[in-house]
């Protein structure tokens, strides 16, 4: 064992060797720039490799003389070789790795940003170094491998200097998460920020920002005099109303479930699944089926009362109804935990102190629910701000920021700057709401869970409150059931309101399969393309999202390092950023080198990872904080390193969290629209954007049929999750708590 202990700290550096090999392979073997097909088809090997411009590795680009700026990478790859001979405790070992890792990484990024498809990216560089004879495109596999090699050489150097107890895995993981969050959250957002200041002829100007920022279409208050209001006011008012209404409704539901003798509590809990599996605009479609010009209710009312059908539902009322329906279950989900969490003994204490039920509720229960109420409001507010599907379907002349951003980018006006300014306003609102929430909650402690068993019982709701709560919940439930029935029913109706015969036509159009004589299947349905793409992209991004989320959660719960708070803020930031903003910032940032991935499947996968990562992080943190830290520590003292500990101890105990993160990110990737709508391309079309396209062509039948199919697929996914989690839970995870008590 002594010998083993020595090799561990001696001059063998398996991880370093691995990353050096990766770096060298990236520089000498793999194409430096992005190739047209996937690298793994190896088609590039037959296209004039290694000398052809399109597929050459970095080294050949460098020596061919045209792209001399790639050659310094070689020096930075040679440097770390000198560290191999030295022991880890040798200060020179760490120094060499840090210097060459940092220089290499820095150089790679600097050259990537300085030289683009038109030569120098910055005028001052051109004037300084003279015009450049060549140009470069988006980085490919080779560049990516070299970049990761430099990054991990750098982190190993930092680890060797003693950071985080010299732990290579942890330092590497921190470096990796920081790098990808910077590249795919901070960089696009900052990039968008600057593009708000760019004029038509590519100069920077504050004036252009103010001109766009003070636009009447953004801040106009015409609606007070019967005209139209600006999109910013519309969005803000809508989001506040939606936030308030969903919070109140969510609270009503939570109270019914926890504090009444209501019999069908499980049924109500099932409602929480709805928002996860419902594509975002489906509710809007159902509302059109009910209240649109040829909607059921409209015609019914018209027949009975002789009121001429109007288009009243298009605009704020329709959007409001749709969003409230869509987001109330989210508020319910948040509030049920909080309402259950209020310690019954506090309420019992209040009652023994002569407060009646109403006074207890008002003075103890409700104030203790404040954080939950604030969270529910915040979620409703952000979801409403970011919602794209419902305003698009139902908005009419009611402009909101998310749709305005979309039209600024894809519309005839194509105005990047305007999109950026609108996105900034939107981002300002959501971050403002975050800040306001913190301010409101202040520093008061709302902790009511003591960790010890709480044997009390929640008091029942006071009568005066119970009746209206029941009424609200009843009406809402009825309405929701109607809506979802309409969706299913609508998918079988030939042409809503015009020809009400039942038909499978829409399903056939979307999902038909032809069998030829030879038994070969041909997927002739119009939806197959987008459907398979969606499943593929969702299937690829789900495990990646879960992995990044869990590693981040591990770092946040189990490790201490400088800057941990800003690290946490950075990883959670993308949650506060509306999808529309992410979408805009991604196309602005990633359709030019060095990272040129617009129009590929990669950009979709990446956007899903960073949109859904916060949920994985939260799920991971929640379950990891239930695992006693002494489990990790005992593994470490038994000789496992932190990677082995993560693999052998933490991961097996986190199975339920992993599955939850997997399914959640899978389902979210299938229903996402706000960011996706900007990022899809002809080749990579997603189900949701395909459906939106059908809606815009007034092809409601097909859209609804497709949505119904998606709901079924996702229900199956969620059901599968319940099954799997249920099975891994048996008796094992709880065992940790028994020896402690």
């Amino acid at each position: 064992m002594q010998a083993i202990a020595e090799t561990k700290t001696g001059s063998a550096h398996p991880t370093l060797v691995l990353w050096l090999i990766v770096g060298w392979a990236g520089f000498f073997i793999f194409p430096w720039y992005g190739v047209e097909d996937s690298v793994f088809t190896f088609g590039w090997l037959f296209e004039g490799y290694p000398f052809d411009e399109d597929v050459a590795p970095g080294f050949f680009h460098g020596v061919s003389g045209n792209k001399g700026w790639l050659l310094p990478h070689l020096a930075f790859l040679v440097g770390p070789l000198f560290a191999l001979k030295r022991t880890r405790s040798d200060p020179l070992h760490a120094k060499i790795l840090i210097i060459f890792g940092a220089l290499g990484f820095g150089w790679l990024i600097a050259q990537g940003f300085s030289i683009g498809i038109r030569g120098w990216n910055f005028a001052w560089m051109e004037s300084l170094f003279g015009p450049l004879g060549d140009r470069q495109f988006g980085m490919g596999t080779g560049a990516m491998l070299v970049a990761s090699a430099f990054l991990f050489i750098l982190t190993q150097g930092i680890a060797a200097r003693g950071a985080i107890n010299g732990d290579i895995f942890v330092v590497g993981a921190i470096g990796f998460v920081i790098t990808i969050v910077t590249a795919f959250v901070f960089y696009p957002i900052l990039n968008m920020l600057t593009s708000a200041f760019i004029t038509q002829d590519n100069a920077y100007s504050i004036g252009v920002f103010f001109e766009k920022f003070t636009d009447r279409r953004l801040w106009g208050l015409g609606c007070l005099q019967g005209g139209r209001c600006g999109a910013a006011w519309n969005s803000l008012v809508l989001a506040i109303v939606v936030g308030l209404v969903t919070t109140v409704l969510g609270l009503a539901f939570a109270l019914v479930v926890t504090r009444t003798g209501f019999r069908f509590k499980r049924g109500l809990r099932a409602l929480t699944v709805l928002p996860i599996i419902t594509p975002p605009f489906v509710i809007g479609l159902a509302i059109i089926l009910l209240f649109g010009l040829s909607g059921n209710v409209t015609r019914f009312v018209a027949d009975i009362f002789g009121i001429a059908p109007t288009r009243w539902v298009y605009g704020m009322p329709g959007v409001l109804i749709a969003q409230v329906l869509a987001f109330t279950p989210i508020a319910f989900l948040v509030l049920i935990g909080v309402v259950e969490g209020v310690s019954p003994s506090m309420e019992e204490a209040a009652q023994t102190l002569r407060a009646n039920r109403w006074e207890t509720f008002r003075t103890v229960s409700l104030p203790l629910m404040r954080p939950g109420l604030a969270n529910a409001f915040l979620l409703g507010f952000i979801e409403s701000m970011a919602d794209f599907g419902n305003p698009l379907v139902l908005g009419g002349n009611f402009d909101v920021l998310s749709t305005e951003i979309f039209f600024a980018i894809v519309g005839a006006q194509y105005d990047q700057g305007r999109a950026a300014v609108l996105a900034l306003v939107l981002l300002g609102f959501t971050l403002g709401a975050f800040w306001a929430q913190r301010f409101w909650l202040g520093k008061k402690s709302y902790t009511t869970m003591t960790g010890k068993g709480d044997s009390g019982v929640h008091p029942l709701l006071p009568k005066g409150l119970a009746i209206p709560v029941y009424a609200v919940v009843g009406i809402w439930t009825l309405f929701t059931i109607t809506i979802y029935t309409m969706i299913v029913y609508g998918s079988f109706v030939e042409l809503w309101g015009v020809k009400n015969t039942l038909t499978f036509k829409h399903y056939v159009t979307a999902f038909s399969i032809d069998f030829t004589q030879e038994g070969v299947r041909k997927y002739t349905g119009s939806a197959w393309d987008s459907f398979t793409t969606t499943i593929q992209i969702a299937a690829i991004s789900a495990p990646l999202t879960a992995a990044v989320g869990l590693v981040t959660a591990y770092l946040l719960t189990r490790q201490n390092f400088a800057g941990k708070n800003s690290f946490e803020f950075g990883t959670m930031l993308s949650f506060a950023i509306p999808g529309t903003v992410i979408g805009v910032s991604y196309i602005l940032a990633f359709n030019v080198p060095p990272i040129e991935i617009t129009g590929t499947g990669v950009i979709l996968v990446i956007s899903f990872i960073f949109r859904n990562m916060p949920v994985g992080v939260r799920a991971g943190i929640a379950s990891m904080s239930q695992l006693d830290k002494s489990l990790d520590e005992s593994s470490l003292t038994l000789g496992a390193n932190s990677w082995q500990t993560f693999l052998n101890v933490i991961l097996p105990l986190l199975k339920p969290a992993i599955l939850a993160a997997l399914v959640y990110s899978f389902v979210r990737a299938m229903t996402a629209i706000s960011a996706v709508i900007f990022l899809v391309s002809a080749e990579y079309n997603m189900a949701t954007s395909y459906i939106i396209g059908r809606v815009e062509n007034n092809d409601y039948g097909l859209a609804i049929a497709y949505s119904t199919s998606l709901i079924v697929v996702m229900l199956m996914a969620v059901g599968l999750l319940q099954l799997l989690v249920g099975r891994t839970n048996i008796g094992r995870r709880l065992s940790q708590s028994s020896p402690r008590n």
Partner: protein, 360 residues
């Protein structure tokens, strides 16, 4: 398979401090502590909660890194070495058994990372289980064992690695009182049979006295006293140790002469000659154990006059509270038939060599 451990190594701390937060303004959990633990001995870190004993233990394990100072295990400087790379294993208060692994897998866990062959891992793990008396329990899950059995698995898991140093962090605190005595004797027996270096953390002074070769009492991040169990009980260095280990009456006294390490002490007219223990003439403190107080007839010469204010019968002895000029004294008397009642006037003397002069 598990022979007398030839690898047992010494542990030494040289001016080690651990500060949480900013080095100058943060909380000092361990303040400039120097310790020397000889190979093959069982040394206990004893103290009230928050005294820094667990932090000290975790610095030996490599789970915390010292802010200043040097930690040596054997001849090797391990100050900056993480837990993984130290040849130390630890038994946790919560046992920290991996709930998803069987008992045998738990015990084999550390061996897997030590470069042993598969068959040897199995043999050693079985031998470890036999050593703690858990033959045949290998296939069970930890949740299927009783608390005491889980504790033994944790010990076996640490033992099979034949570490240079074995650490125990309050290993008995989750066991009931009877089991505690049994398990601590087993731990002591294994330690002596295998010649292990063991560092043991507890806040239970009785447990510490029972198992240790040496006890290091810690208070407020520093060492209060370091010595054998008998040293600590019979000659506590200061008020804290006297009070923390066993029960003690601590009274103000006057030292009026010190000569050749012998001090002349007066306690309200009661004159005593005691080992000086570095004390200087002037006011001082005197500590005396309750069972070393002798109750005599009233009016005796060179004694304290007192009155019994409370008598409690607790079965095998009497507990007395005696009001004297030096304050209330707590005494025990084995003579349960003595006619001692509340209000009885008595005189109080101390057994020879019983009282000790204490520093504040």
């Amino acid at each position: 398979m598990l022979n007398k451990n030839s690898k047992a190594a010494s542990v030494s701390f040289d001016n080690v401090s651990k500060v949480y937060g900013h080095p100058s303004t943060g909380v000092r959990a361990v303040d400039n502590v120097s310790i020397n633990i000889e190979a093959g001995t069982l040394v206990t870190l004893l103290g009230p909660s928050g005294c820094g004993k667990t932090t000290t233990l975790r610095m030996i394990a490599g789970l915390e890194m010292p802010t200043n100072g040097t930690v040596m295990i054997g001849d090797r400087d391990v100050t900056h070495l993480p837990a993984t790379d130290r040849d130390v294993s630890m038994v946790f208060q919560s046992y920290a058994l991996f709930p998803h692994m069987s008992v045998l897998e738990n015990v084999s866990y550390g061996l897997k990372f030590s470069g042993f062959k598969k068959s040897e891992i199995h043999d050693r793990a079985i031998a470890g289980l036999n050593l703690v008396g858990l033959e045949g329990y290998g296939d069970r899950l930890p949740s299927e064992l009783s608390g005491g059995q889980q504790q033994r698995v944790a010990v076996a898991r640490a033992l099979v690695l034949e570490p240079q140093v074995l650490l125990f962090d309050e290993p008995l605190s989750n066991l009931d009182a009877k089991l505690r005595r049994q398990v601590r004797e087993e731990i002591r027996e294994i330690q002596q049979n295998l010649g292990l270096t063991v560092v043991y953390v507890t806040h239970d002074q009785e447990e510490a006295l029972a198992v240790s070769d040496r006890i290091i009492v810690m208070n407020n991040a520093v060492i209060a006293q370091d010595g054998t169990p008998r040293d600590l009980y019979d000659a506590p260095a200061n008020r804290f140790v006297a009070d923390f280990i066993g029960e003690a009456n601590i009274v103000d006294c006057q030292v009026f002469a010190v000569e050749d390490d012998v001090a002349q002490v007066e306690l309200h007219g009661y004159k005593l000659t005691l080992p000086a223990r570095d004390s200087q003439p002037g006011p001082s403190l005197l500590g005396v154990r309750p069972n070393r107080i002798i109750v005599g007839e009233p009016g005796a010469t060179n004694a304290l006059a007192g009155e019994i204010v409370r008598v409690t019968y607790v079965g095998n002895h009497l507990e007395l509270t005696i009001q004297t000029a030096a304050g209330n004294l707590f005494a025990t008397s084995d003579d349960v038939d003595a006619a001692l009642e509340t209000g009885t006037q008595i005189s109080v003397t101390f057994a020879k060599n019983a009282p000790v002069l204490l520093k504040e």
